[in-house]
C-alpha cells in the first residue's frame, strides 16, 4: 500500500502548481495510470481522500484514466496489445519487445479555480 505515498507526492505537486497560478482551489486532477506502474487506481482514490484533507485540493475530484498495455516487437515490428505478465509480441510471439504504453503514472492536468466567483460564499458578506 504505497498509494498514500504516491498521493502525497501528487498533492504536493498540485499544491505547487496551484500556488504558481494564484489559484484559490483545485477543482479537478487528472492522472493517467498504466497497469504496470505498480499503482492501483481504486487504492489511489482511497488514499486520495486522506491525502487531500486540509490542502488546496480538499474539494477536488480525482480522475484516473487507465492506459492500455501495448508493446512493439523488436523482431517483426508489430505493435500489439499485451497483458501485464505476458509482454510478448501478439503477432510473432517473440519476447524481445519494447513497452509503448502501460507503465505510466502521470499527472496529466489540473483544473484550478482562479478567480473569486460572484456566488462564492467568501464574496457575499
Amino acid at each position: 500500500m504505497h498509494e498514500l505515498a504516491v498521493c502525497q507526492g501528487l498533492i504536493s505537486q498540485v499544491s505547487r502548481i496551484a500556488a504558481e497560478h494564484d489559484a484559490r482551489a483545485v477543482a479537478r486532477i487528472v492522472v493517467r495510470i498504466g497497469p504496470l506502474s505498480g499503482v492501483e487506481a481504486p487504492l489511489l482514490q482511497q488514499a486520495y481522500t486522506l491525502a487531500r484533507a486540509g490542502t488546496v485540493a480538499e474539494d477536488a475530484e480525482l480522475v484516473t484514466e487507465a492506459l492500455p498495455v501495448r508493446v512493439r516487437c523488436e523482431q517483426c515490428g508489430a505493435e500489439t496489445d499485451a497483458t501485464v505478465n505476458r509482454l510478448v509480441c501478439g503477432s510473432c510471439g517473440d519476447w524481445h519487445t519494447r513497452l509503448l504504453s502501460g507503465d505510466e503514472m502521470i499527472l496529466a492536468s489540473v483544473e484550478l479555480l482562479t478567480a473569486w466567483q460572484p456566488d462564492s460564499p467568501a464574496t457575499l458578506h
Partner: protein
C-alpha cells in the same frame, strides 16, 4: 493584455488556449493546466540528486529487492567476506523495525546504516539521502541498498541507484515473476537464491522462473546462487566486478546510468 474579447490571441499562441492547450480556460473562472509529469516527480528529483552524489564519489549503487526472507542479508554477508581487501562495500539497510540486519552486516566487516521505516513498505529517495549522510562515500566502492522485503511497493521508487538486483529464493515458487510483474520487469539482474535447497524442492524449476522473466520482455541475466554453500558466488561476483568497472568508466566520461527499465520518463521527455 485583454483576456475578454480574445484580441490578444494570435496565430502564434492560439494553440495554447485551444481545449487541451496549456493555457486553456474552462468556464466559470476555471483554468486547466496541462502538467504531464510523473506522479513521483519529487522523489525522482531527489533520486537524481542521490545518483549525482554516488557518481561524484565514483560509487556504484545497487538496489536489492525481494520478498522478506529470500536471503538478501545472507547474500550481502557472503559478498562482503568474499570481496574483503578488494572492494570496499557499504550497506544501507531498510526494514520496518530493528537494527538486526545492520548488525549482521557490521559483523561481516562493512559499515551499515539502518533505516527503520516504521510502517512504510518501501524505501524512497529521501530516506536514502538521509542515510547517505552517515556514510563516508570517499572510502566506499559499492553501496548496496537493501530495500524493505516486499515484492510490490519498492519497484515504484527510484532511489538514485544504478542497477536493480532482484532475488527470488527457490522456496518461493517459480511463478513469482508472473505474479509480481512490476517488480521482476525492473530487474537488471535476477538471482535465484538458496539453490542448495533445489534437490529437496522439486516443484521449483529454474527454467520456468527464467521463462516467466522473459515473458516480461526482460533480458536480465538469471544467476543461481547459494550464499550458504558458496555455489554460484563466482558468477555473481563477476557480474558485480564488471558493474564496478563499468561505473568507473562512466565516471571518467562524466556519464551516469539508470536502472535498465525507465518508467515513462522517455516518453515524457520525448513528448516535451
Amino acid at each position: 493584455m485583454c483576456d475578454t474579447c480574445g484580441c490578444n490571441v494570435t496565430y502564434g499562441n492560439q494553440h495554447l488556449i485551444r481545449p487541451g492547450g496549456k493555457l486553456a480556460r474552462a468556464p466559470g473562472g476555471r483554468e486547466a493546466v496541462e502538467v504531464l509529469s510523473g506522479l513521483l516527480s519529487e522523489n525522482d528529483h531527489q533520486a537524481a540528486h542521490n545518483r549525482e552524489h554516488f557518481d561524484r564519489h565514483g560509487v556504484l549503487a545497487l538496489n536489492l529487492m525481494s520478498s522478506p526472507g529470500s536471503g538478501k542479508t545472507a547474500l550481502l554477508e557472503a559478498t562482503i567476506r568474499a570481496l574483503a581487501g578488494e572492494l570496499r562495500v557499504a550497506v544501507v539497510e531498510g526494514d520496518l523495525e530493528t537494527e538486526n540486519d545492520a548488525e549482521r552486516i557490521r559483523a561481516a566487516g562493512a559499515p551499515a546504516v539502518q533505516i527503520t521505516t516504521g510502517s512504510a513498505c518501501h524505501l524512497d529517495a529521501h530516506m536514502v539521502h538521509d542515510a547517505l549522510h552517515h556514510l563516508d562515500l570517499e572510502s566506499v566502492d559499492v553501496v548496496f541498498i537493501e530495500n524493505v522485503g516486499n515484492l510490490v511497493c519498492p519497484a515504484s521508487f527510484d532511489l538514485g541507484h544504478h542497477r536493480n538486483v532482484t532475488l527470488l529464493s527457490v522456496t518461493e515458487g517459480d511463478d513469482k515473476p508472473a505474479k509480481y510483474p512490476v517488480m521482476f520487469r525492473a530487474a537488471d539482474l535476477m538471482l535465484l537464491t538458496k539453490t542448495d535447497l533445489l534437490p529437496v524442492i522439486e516443484e521449483f524449476s529454474p527454467q520456468r522462473a527464467e521463462t516467466a522473466v522473459r515473458h516480461l520482455a526482460n533480458p536480465a541475466p538469471v544467476l543461481r546462487v547459494s550464499a550458504k554453500k558458496g555455489d554460484g558466488m563466482k558468477a555473481w561476483l563477476k557480474w558485480l566486478r564488471a558493474e564496478v568497472t563499468a561505473q568507473r568508466a562512466r565516471g571518467a566520461r562524466g556519464e551516469t546510468v539508470r536502472p535498465a527499465m525507465q518508467r515513462d520518463g522517455i516518453r515524457l521527455h520525448a513528448g516535451g
